[in-house]
């Protein structure tokens, strides 16, 4: 007579890295629910201690092969803030451009290969390619466009070598940037088309009253730098992060859980960015959003695929503008000396807010580092989504419910590798 059910996913598919899910249900009541990250911790913050401050962008880039630019930019922001240095507008434009390249690469992969198959009922992108070759081809080409931007500005497509604290080692020539124009124009059209296509997918009727947290800049869609704002009215500088957010360890995850001080979960990522920065979207992105039926705020996590597509429109259109207005800066970088100082930096990784803090000693060596990636901030929000979703859908059979819950996790495009790291591990079952 027991109505007890247990759903276990030992190894989540189509996420970056290794994670699992555990759910114990009694009727429609959730007894136990865990989003588990079982990759072992990576100790990057410890590696950084004793290294030159100028090495931080290259070392932290290695945390992720999908979003190295985010790590480089948050590191540069923190060290430049420590030194009180200001970069030139030319350097800023190049940084925005390379960051858009990363967004295109990351969103292109997630929208077409990791997320769309969920909505269309395919196990993976390969199965989907058979029936929707033109979509998968567009995805590959958008991702490749992102790679090309990274190569032109950063020197190579993964873990770029041209980024340094204070700017770049070498500023690309005008004609190098101009070579991106044609493909960016194609990308803009393809992204608009993608936003329209994904808006026709069928989304579970589900919303949550999230506290969104994202970067806000006075006159740009939040990405490269700015203040940290939230939908609950928080408006703080990056150095105030530790006063408002706290990390703690839970036994089922090797990634620290972040929460608001004295509060619960919050949500970072494309939906938070979009909802807190809507007015700064590029014209074509705003139009794509409205045609896709999105209002200025999106609270249905399943629709994050639409938001990512709108962000690809914004990325292509803004990148085109940067390429058109580009003048090679006189100097590719500015002097930065953060010796004896502490600095905090934030930027918007494809998956959301990425916070760095560095303490630099009098010799210019890193004495302490603290890095909080988006996925560790979203872990609680993921669990809260599942906890809210399950009682409404407890009538579904195990297989259907499991599929939808996995999809709910993939809504976040969780980068478990960033939150921890890969190692060849055996899956440990938690039997009670």
């Amino acid at each position: 007579m027991s109505s007890e059910r247990r759903i276990e996913v030992d190894y989540l598919a189509r996420v970056e890295g290794e994670g699992a899910m555990y759910l114990e249900l009694d009727g429609s009541e959730v007894r136990d629910l865990k989003f588990k990250i079982f990759e072992p911790p990576r100790f990057f913050e410890a590696f950084l201690r004793g290294r030159k401050h100028s090495e931080a962008p290259d070392i932290t880039a290695r945390i992720c092969g999908i979003c190295p630019i985010a790590y480089q930019m948050s590191a540069c922001n923190a060290l430049e803030a420590a030194a009180g240095a200001t970069i030139t507008n030319g350097i800023r434009s190049l940084r925005r451009l390379i960051y858009f390249g990363e967004w295109l690469e990351s969103h292109g992969l997630h929208v077409f290969f990791l997320h769309a198959p969920d909505f269309l009922g395919y196990d993976n992108g390969i199965a989907m390619a058979k029936d929707h070759p033109e979509r998968v081809e567009a995805g590959l080409r958008l991702k490749k466009l992102g790679n090309e931007i990274m190569t032109v500005v950063g020197g190579r497509e993964i873990h770029p070598v041209n980024v340094k604290v204070g700017g770049f080692y070498r500023a690309p020539r005008v004609e190098e940037l101009a070579s991106l124009k044609k493909e960016l124009e194609w990308g803009l059209g393809a992204a608009i088309d993608t936003a329209e296509w994904v808006s026709t997918l069928s989304f579970p009727d589900f919303e949550r009253d999230y506290e969104f947290v994202a970067v806000r800049h006075p006159d740009e869609y939040g990405m490269l730098d700015g203040r940290i704002v939230s939908s609950a009215g928080l408006d703080i500088s990056p150095e105030e992060w530790p006063e408002h957010f706290i990390e703690s360890h839970v036994e089922w995850s090797n990634a620290l859980h972040a929460r608001k001080v004295g509060g619960g979960s919050y949500h970072v990522g494309p939906m938070a960015r979009y909802s807190l920065n809507y007015e700064w979207l590029s014209p074509a992105a705003k139009e794509a959003a409205s045609r896709a039926g999105l209002g200025p705020v999106c609270r249905n996590p399943f629709q994050s695929i639409v938001v990512r597509s709108v962000e690809m429109v914004h990325a292509c259109e803004t990148a085109l503008e940067i390429v058109a207005n580009y003048k090679q800066p006189d100097a590719p970088s500015v002097e930065v000396d953060p010796s004896g100082k502490i600095g905090h930096g934030v930027s918007e990784a494809p998956r959301g807010l990425l916070y760095h803090r560095y303490e630099v000693d009098d010799d210019g060596l890193i004495a302490d580092a603290h890095i909080v990636p988006p996925t560790s901030q979203n872990q609680l929000s993921i669990e809260d989504d599942l906890r809210a979703y399950v009682p409404l859908h407890a009538h579904l059979d195990d297989a259907t419910l499991q599929w939808q819950l996995e999809q709910a996790i993939r809504n976040y495009d969780p980068c478990i590798s960033c939150a921890t790291h890969f190692l060849d591990l055996e899956v440990k079952r938690t039997d009670r």
């Binding site: 996420v15 992969l109 081809e137 590798s417 060849d424």
Partner: protein, 136 residues
């Protein structure tokens, strides 16, 4: 020729080592046999892939496959990411993006220990494959 692997995981570096030592063949490397591989062979008609395998055969065993015809299981090539060598080849096949000729060489790994050099049998297999590809 595309060598796939990680520098830091013992015998996983076998493909990279072959790519580095080829003299007469154009070569490239990538960390994962992922989607980027499809971009790498774009425009080339005769492509060789070299990756480490975990098939249960003796370490250092070289296996040769016709990449146009073989259906690789997902786990045949070790990848740290969601899309591995086998999947990328399948995807390219579905989409008609395979080169005219694709030969896949698997070198059976003995160890994926972090920071370790190639094990002797795998280093020997690398010598054999470099010789074979450079004189093909």
């Amino acid at each position: 020729m595309i060598g796939i692997g990680s520098e830091f995981r013992g015998d996983d570096a076998a493909g990279l080592e072959v790519a580095r030592r080829l003299r007469r063949v154009n070569s490239a490397t990538c960390i994962d046999g992922s989607l980027d591989m499809i971009n790498l062979w774009d425009g080339w008609s005769d492509v060789a892939l070299v990756d480490a395998t975990r098939s249960g055969s003796a370490p250092g065993t070289i296996q040769r496959f016709d990449g146009k015809k073989t259906d690789f299981p997902s786990s045949a090539f070790v990848s740290t990411h969601a899309i591995g060598t086998g999947e990328a080849i399948r995807l390219a096949r579905e989409m008609g993006l395979l080169p005219d000729k694709l030969t896949v060489y698997g070198i059976e790994a003995g160890s994926f220990a972090i920071g370790a050099p190639l094990t002797p049998s795998v280093a020997g297999a690398v010598d054999v494959l470099v010789e074979e590809l450079d004189n093909a």
